[in-house]
Symmetry: C2
Subunit: 303 residues, 2 copies
């Protein structure tokens, strides 16, 4: 048995209804990413390869806030964060404030495989990518006309994102359980629109935005990154299972529906446990998400 | 009642015995830092101010691996990481890969007070510091002859630190409980000697190297940063208390003496709970540490 879940961000519903075309594009983007990960798992590949494959597809899709199509900093540049974790041996790789690497999740994977360090940021991360022979792109490759408009609107509306026709949190992520029972998680993001240069959110932080441990669960979050850093969100789910004896659904429910709202924090997460149980929950009006288990049909939701 | 604990790193014992003079210098450095924090708490200051004051003194002391006197990257430069967290409101500030800010813990505090973001790295963190009017120094200010020798020795002995007359982990940190029952934690480090540029360890990562929550405990860690990132070390202590009903001593014991050795991870941590109970534990041969509680004498240990 294998299982896979992915997300494309959680947030407010658009003020205007999506056009049918736009809705279809989001659904198709999620379906393609899900298939990429599913193909790995169906071919007896490992969970780590599956989450990397799924997140790579979402990074390349301009509709989501990761790599190509990511949000802009206040300076008008793109700075990318990503992490990946192997629940089998607790290996992890994370990168932040990356500007010239086409697929940050692949760079995070290289950091994991290299093994010397877990977390590389900025120029040092770029140099590591160069030494590893990874594809180098210009920062302009990531920038879309839509994100330029978004930043202009943000600056006009004094940093309110309410007028924007999209969920404010478009982070992407994946969690998987492969046939051998191994868990893995990956997350990738451009962060928050109009962020200060150098800002790192929860996504690349092991324990906050990304976590995987075969003994408990794999988690990828999306939402108010600053709050998810302070609540150590992803590991909080694992710890409720490890130390509190909660099931995955109980752990996620208590965290997302009780603790976070009390703190005024919004967002969501996807999680999977060693039995392949999938939980996808959010306290925002919507979360883009999709999942599949071996022998079952895929499900895709954008509400 | 108030209580304060600080550390100056955990690691192997030196191959050669310390000279009496050097031992006295370490003790004096710890005593000065402890006094700085104690003064704040005795004057009814808050835990957050106390940990910032104590860590600032350790950052300025060339004997410890933080700010002035920090270890060098493989490139021969200094890159600094720090974090601070307020257990009262779960506010946090963290910075990494900082090269020109005299006291990184003070920059982390500014990030916390600013409130827009939690975590800033590299050039963006420097720009934030500049905008905040903080003291700018050259990278050379941090570099001591001793660290130049250490790096040369590292390169000669193919990355082994065994020949070096000092504990390999010289990270500094503080945890405090003030008279109002508020907890806080702060950690500052130059990371690991000979690290790749851009490498971020556990110290500035909320949940890994630094964590504080009035409802459980405040923690500052020192040790094998890559492992402490993967195990989400600081929050693991808090979670064992929150969800497992462990006391502080039980939580720290289970984590440092059982889980970490099984994983092959070494290091230590200092922690404090809401009653002002202090626990300082390590699975290395030594940890530099000191603590004091209101109405009691200070204790200082370098073994």
């Amino acid at each position: 048995m294998f299982a896979l879940a992915i997300h494309g961000g959680a947030g407010a519903l658009p003020r205007m209804q999506y056009t049918h075309g736009r809705e279809q594009a989001y659904r198709q983007g999620l379906a393609l990413a899900l298939s990429a990960g599913q193909r790995v798992l169906a071919g007896d590949g490992c969970a780590l390869d599956a989450v990397e494959a799924a997140v790579t597809v979402l990074e390349d899709d301009a509709l989501f806030n990761a790599a190509h199509g990511a949000v802009l900093t206040l300076d008008g540049t793109v700075e990318l964060d990503a992490a990946i974790m192997d629940g089998e041996r607790l290996r992890a790789g994370a990168v932040a404030s990356v500007r010239y690497v086409r697929n940050p999740v692949q760079l995070a994977r290289r950091v994991l495989e290299d093994g010397r360090h877990v977390f590389l940021v900025g120029d040092g991360a770029e140099r590591f990518a160069e030494d590893a022979g990874m594809t180098h792109v210009t920062n302009g490759y990531f920038i879309t006309p839509y994100r330029l408009q978004q930043l202009a609107a943000l600056k006009t509306h004094s940093h309110s994102v309410a007028a924007l026709d999209e969920p404010p949190f478009g982070t992407v992520g994946a969690v998987a359980r492969d046939r051998a029972g191994r868990l893995a998680a990956a997350t990738s993001t451009g962060g928050t629109a109009g962020k200060l240069a150098g800002r790192v959110g929860d996504s690349p932080v092991i324990g906050a935005g990304t976590y995987a441990d075969n003994e408990s669960c794999a988690v990828s979050t999306t939402g108010h990154g600053e709050w998810f850093l302070r609540t150590v969100q992803a590991y909080d789910i694992a710890a409720r299972m490890r130390y509190g004896g909660a099931t995955l659904a109980e752990a996620v429910g208590a965290s997302i529906e009780q603790r976070l709202p009390r703190l005024g924090a919004s967002g969501g997460l996807i999680a999977i446990d060693h039995r392949g149980e999938i939980v996808m929950r959010y306290n925002t009006p919507a979360m883009f998400r999709a999942s599949v288990r071996s022998g079952e049909a895929a499900s895709i939701h954008i509400d």
